[in-house]
Homo-oligomer: 310 residues x 3
């Protein structure tokens, strides 16, 4: 069976079965990165262009290594040091890149909707590496993979996501995916950072973290954008840590088998203390390792791979 | 027959026959980028260094992909984030790069003459990717290829180049090349942007666009540097668009088979309207695709390839 | 025999025998870069990540080409345009990179000690490409290689290092290495730029350059950080050049066979004049070429190569 999509734009576009297929396949791709020679010839001769309009280390590196381990050629363009800063529209830039016949464009863009538009208009594969406050689908897939790897399942788990939900594409993608896979999701956030329309998401909402902790199987901390803490949304860094930060005493109230997640990069001392980040419950680095496997899987599938690897 | 040059510095250095050879060979290189596996082993083990002292997306990407599709290794250095900002002279930087034994250096530099000096002093191939207001030879070659692809010939065509001729290396390289290939060239530009010495170029000059349109087979719009519009050269963006911008009504006055070109990146709404940029006459994206083929051809020839591919 | 170290952090960690082994092996790696096809399959499938928190051209390019000539895959991350600027700690960044299973991380960092900490905590190879004012071991190795290549030996030579010793990791690494190899080292520097504890280094110190010149086999000029000249350390650029710059008349007083070295990038006109930099005594570009060979050697050894290549 061939994967039916050339693009990955949003978790909202995938069925539970499709998510399940991706998570199942990622296990075999994860194994490749543990070999001595971490390279397979699957995508030899294919060209993958990374078009990043926002700074990124881990996501860009993860995609780049994923492509290289499949033997694709990669080229990275970032917004600075490029003519993207010369007033060209993003779609002109995209058509230009397309004219050079890449097989896949991985796009990160500060506003929502551009990856979808590119997917509709360009014949190559488009993978969304984060668009504005919309979605970050590979992050949610690696998060779901990491949870399933730990618990053996997603269904019926209580997943708590803590932080600035309104401005978080990570939260949005995770909510869509986790709900489809049968998890129960609790969003913990100050009222000022609740997204409009959250009542239709099928999740529970709490403005207090402490009551939620003892029930949670997963506590996923979101990164705090420090600049936002000094806007109208909240009264400052210290108060944020006090009410919403994960610290030692909160970790001690977690369920015996519960885990801590964070999409990175962490602001140690703000949304998570050193204790919490480095506790035995943390699967934060598993998330990073699994991200590479998820991205190899998606490159493989989007570029025409078969779902049944024989 | 072996190509006699290790470098490509200027269209002014090439004969009509040599330009013809490049355009003929580019067709077979263009075909490679349309294959499923877009890679040939021609330059395996060769090292191509991209030394870009000016921001660039399409040119750098085009050269980088051209090199990779020929299986060369590429490394890109840009002026920011390098010790080029530490007060080292460009020639010291060039000698340093040379000491690492690259096979080819592709150089873009804000002042004229540096690529030529590098070609004289360094044993590796030097390809000029644009030097100041001097030349941008691969751009002219891809432009000529695109025109010839459309019309089947260059000889006898009327090519109109519109914009800031004085500061345009694209215009200079095209004038030299098109004249050698027997085209008739008209330069349309405000008087303040006429380059000194233009009377020796063998071209026609007009300060008005409208009278020229009905005779033109090709209308090549140059990018407007917005910062220059606010200098002494012209009275502003709106006036520029009014007198020199390509818009719907001007497009309608073009000859039946005439085409629109632009080296990119476009300032939509300044030198070209959305209508004109997206009209059926536009071969702007063909230019981009052909650029990759031209650059593969030049890397192949400069690095010792034979003119007759058997 | 297998090389016993996965990392290269400091020349201080190596014995004279080990330094000798590296210098001996580098000769065969140097030969590869002089071939027509400059590539061997030794590290195929290995992943080398370049993590540069300080601007660099030659060192990054040198390591990158070294890795590519051994067929490793390389990915470069620089501090700008990455989430390193988002307040993440360097060790979190390092663990993140590690989670993606590179075989080697080449790190340049503005403060001392981080490469060592990474080597202790991460299972992959760590190569120090310069950490603060501590060490720059591959620079010292390429310097020693270049001296030995010229003189056939290191033992008994008089090596004079001139400049801002206090802030120079190049000087520190060279002192450690040259002393172990039996060279006599003289440091020439203004008193304000003498490092604390220099009396324990086993070197001679002079605040005047002229008396030292006639005895020196090697004069190694350090780069002057212009910003430092305008701090408390010295009275200005012109005075620095007058007292400590290498110029024509000083070159004429050098021993017949003596050589001039500089780690680059040079400030021509400050610590070295055009005359001196371009004199026949200069082996500055040999240093660059040898740097690539030294880095190929260290990648090969650190990633598990055998000391006896059969």
């Amino acid at each position: 069976m061939t994967w039916p999509y050339k693009d990955l734009i949003a978790i909202a576009d995938l069925s539970a079965d499709e998510i399940g297929t991706i998570l199942d396949m990622a296990a075999s791709f994860k194994e490749i990165s543990r070999r001595d020679i971490k390279k397979v010839p699957t995508l030899r001769g294919k060209t993958v262009v990374l078009l990043f309009y926002e700074p990124s280390t881990r996501t860009r590196l993860s995609f780049e290594l994923a492509a290289k381990r499949l033997s694709a050629d990669t080229t990275a363009l970032s917004a600075s040091g490029s003519s993207f800063t010369k007033g060209e529209t993003i779609m002109d830039a995209a058509y230009n890149v397309m004219a050079m016949a890449p097989d896949c464009i991985i796009i990160r863009y500060p506003y929502a909707g551009i990856p979808k538009k590119m997917a509709q208009l360009l014949p190559c594969s488009i993978i969304n590496a984060g668009d504005g406050y919309h979605e970050h689908p590979t992050q949610a897939l690696l998060d779901m993979y990491s949870i399933k790897e730990h618990f053996g399942r997603l269904e019926g788990l209580n997943v708590t996501i803590v932080g600035d939900i309104m401005h978080s594409r990570v939260a949005r993608s995770n909510v869509y995916g986790l709900r489809k896979m049968g998890a129960h999701v609790v969003l913990v956030t100050p009222k000022t950072l609740l997204p409009p329309g959250v009542e239709t998401w099928g999740v529970e909402v709490s403005t207090a973290l402490d009551p939620v902790i003892p029930e949670s199987d997963v506590i996923m901390m979101l990164r705090v954008q420090k600049e936002r803490l000094h806007q109208q949304f909240f009264s400052g860094e210290r108060e944020y840590s006090f009410f919403y930060g994960l610290n030692k005493s909160r970790v001690q109230k977690m369920k015996e088998d519960a885990v801590i997640m964070h999409p990175g990069p962490m602001n140690r001392g703000v949304e998570i203390t050193y204790d919490a980040a480095d506790s035995a419950r943390s699967i934060i680095l598993d998330q990073v390792e699994n991200g590479l496997a998820i991205r190899m899987t998606l490159l493989y599938l989007s570029l025409g791979g078969s779902v049944n690897v024989d």
